[in-house]
Symmetry: C2
Amino acid sequence: MGVKSLELDERKLKILKAIIRNYLETGEPVGSRTISKYTDLNLSSATIRNEMADLEELGYIVQPHTSAGRIPSDKGYRLYVDDMMKEKEQEVSGKEKEVEEMKEFLIERVDKVELLLQQMAKLLAENTNYATMITAPQYNKNKVKFIQLSRMEAGKLLVVVVIDGNIVKNTILDVEEEMTDETLLQLNMLCNTSLNGLSLNEINLGVIAKLKEQAGIHREIVGSVLDAVADAITVDDDLEIYTSGATNIFRYPELSDQEKAKNLIGAFEEKELLTNLVQESLDKEDRQGIQVYIGSETPVQMMKDCSVVTATYELEEGVKGTIGIIGPKRMDYEKVVNTLKTLTAQLDNIYKKT
Amino acid sequence: MGVKSLELDERKLKILKAIIRNYLETGEPVGSRTISKYTDLNLSSATIRNEMADLEELGYIVQPHTSAGRIPSDKGYRLYVDDMMKEKEQEVSGKEKEVEEMKEFLIERVDKVELLLQQMAKLLAENTNYATMITAPQYNKNKVKFIQLSRMEAGKLLVVVVIDGNIVKNTILDVEEEMTDETLLQLNMLCNTSLNGLSLNEINLGVIAKLKEQAGIHREIVGSVLDAVADAITVDDDLEIYTSGATNIFRYPELSDQEKAKNLIGAFEEKELLTNLVQESLDKEDRQGIQVYIGSETPVQMMKDCSVVTATYELEEGVKGTIGIIGPKRMDYEKVVNTLKTLTAQLDNIYKKT
DNA sequence: GATTAGCACTCTACCCAAATGAGTGCTAAC
DNA sequence: GTTAGCACTCATTTGGGTAGAGTGCTAATC
């Protein structure tokens, strides 16, 4: 409380917040009488009405129709969220039950990151009753860690490339020429000594030329191997996105009419549409990686009737991903922000310990 | 036409079919007057009414309410579909426009099967206006083809297992003991000679014991490697399922009320629920791999208001997957069955040529 | 015996009017 | 500056009334 606004005095702020809180709970337009009782201001409904008229003029609340109560505008929500965030800034996010539950779950041995994330999205959706999305971590600084060439069968060469983060990628090459175990061993050593520790940018023409020169008659094979390596360390442009709880939108009447539902669920199905969201939130990273998009602020047009909260997590240095929660504008921002804060923090810790 | 039924004479059959066809087109209950004009039987509506009463008693059609026309029951659809299938049996499925389009698309070089299937599902959904699902191919007869152990860095052993169908799987092992390049080479040879060509069932205790014996002091490592191999050749129990066009259900009023839509889309999100469907259709494979489930016949309870048509495709010997199309009971069975028939056929051909 | 015309009956869908009630804006009094 | 009071607005609900589609049944016809 007590954060000054440029145009709002203390009382107006208090009323605005009361309106928003009430609306978050009920989902129904809130009238002056309700506020008059709801707050500790001890003001009559008439006074509240006057203040509300002001608030409306300033654009913080709107009336769905003439004789209805008020609901918050995007601007109103924005103020509320910013204010709320400032208040909570210094608070240490206390342990919450859901996160506890989630931690327990995470500790079970899960081999594959994908599976983990998929299940995390599901759990998050179940706990929050909103729709969720989690992107697989993006390995931005991919460097070659280890290369292994082996002859699988006649004419087939298996190339295994391990990159930072112990990601393993394979390619099977068709090779014309036969070669001895000897030369294969030499090629292996050659590739490893020349390429290990290098990123995509660092493998320039000079390196390639030198490598090919050293390879002598096997320059062709080296060429193919280099392609495979390049493929391996190139950042996947179509990143994996795991989603869950899309059907949760049916819990909120303001989102569940035919048209809106179709749009939203469509956006969840066409995952490419979500990439904007991911990019945006990776770029604008501040506030501990948490971003709140309200209504038309969202980078994804199809979600203009929703609010979206995104958080960035980081498994290891440079290995980042995004978690997003999509719900109605009247979502419980505090809970969502807190959950995301603790979740990303825990995710970081837990994963490093495994 | 002209397929005798146990309880229906020629005329009743004709009327039933007329009712169903009409309903497929309009989606509205069809009345006696409509049929009286629609058919070439030249019967008055009154006569039709009598026949309809019979058909209803026999369970082929139902009335949504007393004074409405009739709509087909599941039993009615069943008869229609079976009959239709018999008629088309000998017909060579002519080239259809959509499949042509699809073929063109498939020919573009697509590296990853996953991506191909994902896009195929999408294309299929767009062309049919139903919801679609495609499972990644299941490699049922997994046999070890090649094993490669290599020391990645100190204490880390990279195990690469290639199985039938050139599927490559990797595991990174932590190993205590150091070993020379020599022993590593020997272990490699040992594993390959002992295990290549074997399937999960064939790697029994005898093989394992013999292998461990030969490994001598490295029996522990062999144990870990065996685990990795077992992991690799075990059929993925959670198979990948690609879906698309879930929002198409909103095109059909009878499926798009809140409750039904939520269920259906939920089923599409929780892909595990779809595995029943896949199993069932892989088991009951007849009729060129095409199965039609009408309403409550479906193995997935949540789809009891829909019809589901599944087809099995086979990329290589023993490498099978399932394609499913989910739509309203009044889906265009003929078109769907034909599309699936040609698609699976083409898929087979095209893939083998690449 | 099968077919048909005719009629009473049943239900849904739609429209319209009135009643309800939540909530406002404004004015006048405190 | 605050409040009580009142007239007004508008979405929502309610109920009745009608139109229309379609049936089932009966009696007449072929």
